[in-house]
Amino acid sequence: MDTLTLYMQYIVNGLTLGAIYSLIALGYTMVYGILKFINFAHGDILMVGAFVGLLVYTALTGEAADPGVWTIIAFFIAMLISMGFSALLGVLIERVAYKPLRNANRLAPLLSAIGVSFILSNGAAWIFGTQSRRFPYPFANDPIRIGAIAITPHQIVIIAVSVIMMILLTFFVNKTRMGKAMRAASLDQATSMLMGINVNRVISLTFAIGSALAAVGGILASFDFRVYPSMGTMTGLKAFVAAVIGGIGNIQGAMLGGVLLGILEAVGAPLLHIPNSMRDTVAFAVLIIVLLVKPDGILGKNEREKV
């Protein structure tokens, strides 16, 4: 395989990885947009989502089902149930762990989030054990070849599902009244309350959507990475990096940042001869460069000078 096709292949792989980062980054960025707070438990919600998805999927198909029509249907059923479960979990966490601290100093909810993160990952280890599980492939795994580039059906599903989710989210945020209420609340909570917007409900909704997207991200990620209690830590952290690169608080920024990070990671590591075990450094090196060059992120708005 010549170098060009090899790198084309890396880009395809990076795109898949990036789509997953984007889905998860959206949760960080939407919550930050409204509450100006980093939800460090977000990564663990994707882990819970992956576990719920896996459990429902295996309950529906049995341990070792051959890919077929039923496994595909079961996969999407599992994904929807996992989204619902994670959405409820996200809302519950906000109510219990963050809402009472909304008027406390900014460090308090952050610490609370780290606490929730530990509770979730340790809780999962307690319930499911610490060994990793494989998510059985619901789709046939014969790669489709375009020229010399191979794309697996799973990669296609990852990209397709991510794109659909992002289109739905964009539609929701820009076209519906609830989306408008959400954008208003992210500009100014107190004023929005006076405009008749139930800001508490907007916040709950934000956590619900962010957590549901994280669940999708978690399930899609488990095709490659397997399912285990601490799977959310690194993936969550990198998705957070993606959100910062794109401009935290900005929805398009999270999408762009995720895809960009995925591609940079997939292409950058082989390009710079970084061994696989050190691959994660790429993401954080990119983060440092972005913070030095454009601290607001690529699509982050420059704060207009207030006179």
Partner: protein, 262 residues
């Protein structure tokens, strides 16, 4: 007819009683002034009524309903709008967009109570709906004489105009009762007289107005009734003329030296 009443309204912060057993009432269709020295509890009283804060004890009755302790967004949808001492606009949005915000979520329209079919409809007619809201917003800007600034960023307007924009946005929700917290603060004399004209126009619309103000000339000229607070307690109420000659008010609030000014 009374549009708003508070009964024994009290708000304590630790040991400080910011509002102490206040019976405040507002007659429908009139302009009521709320005055008192700094720290008298005027803004605290506003906050209790508009749901920004919950009273320690006492009741707030609006239009026959007990609204004590309801959240701000609910009270706002029942028809009470307000402006702030420190201006609260969406500074990153344009002037007309700010007023559109006031319209989008106006009284009785709950964005969360829209059924799916309505969501679909609101998608296909989003453009038309937006156009309607835009035109309505422009009408309110005409009313407040801000139309020429419609496309400017709200944060770039001069101070006096920002205050009037906040009033225009509050009016766009078509409230029954409008609270203005120091609308003339920081305004120059020509801006103040313009504001007085606007408040007069608001009264003519049939909207009941309550205003906190330190500018005595404005208060005495524009208000039908005045209530005076001092150290959290109501010390007087009446027409501007009665207040002007009330001994308690003169001593507690205006001070002897400023008697002629009033």
């Amino acid at each position: 007819m009374r549009l708003l009443e508070t009964e024994h309204l009290t708000r304590e912060f630790g040991g400080v009683i910011a509002v102490n057993d206040v019976d405040f009432h507002v007659e429908k269709g009139l302009v009521t002034g709320l005055i008192g020295p700094n720290g008298a509890g005027k803004t605290t009283l506003f906050n209790q009524i508009t749901g920004m804060d919950k009273p320690t004890s006492g009741k707030v009755i609006f239009d026959g309903n007990d609204i004590t302790g309801l959240p701000a967004w609910k009270i706002s949808r029942m028809g009470i709008a307000r402006t702030f001492q420190n201006i609260r606009l969406y500074k990153e949005l344009t002037v007309v967009e700010n007023v559109m915000m006031g319209l989008h979520f106006k009284v009785g329209k709950d964005p969360f109570h829209h059924r799916f079919s309505q969501a679909i409809k609101s998608y296909f007619f989003a453009a038309r709906e937006n156009r309607e809201v835009y035109h309505k917003a422009m009408e309110w800007l005409e009313f407040s004489e801000l139309a020429e600034h419609a496309q400017d960023f709200a944060g770039s307007l001069p101070y006096g105009k920002q205050r009037e924009l906040e009033i225009a946005r509050a009016l766009a929700a078509e409230p029954k009762l409008l609270f203005l917290d120091e609308p003339a603060a920081g305004m120059n004399p020509s801006e103040t007289s313009h504001l007085m004209r606007v408040v007069d126009k608001i009264r003519n619309l049939g909207v009941t107005v309550v205003l906190i103000e330190h500018d005595m000339k404005l208060v005495m000229n524009i208000c039908d009734n005045i209530t005076v607070l001092n150290f959290g307690m109501k010390i007087a109420e009446g027409t501007p003329n009665e207040i002007k000659h009330n001994k308690d008010v003169i001593e507690a609030y205006l001070g002897r030296d400023e008697e002629e000014d009033s």
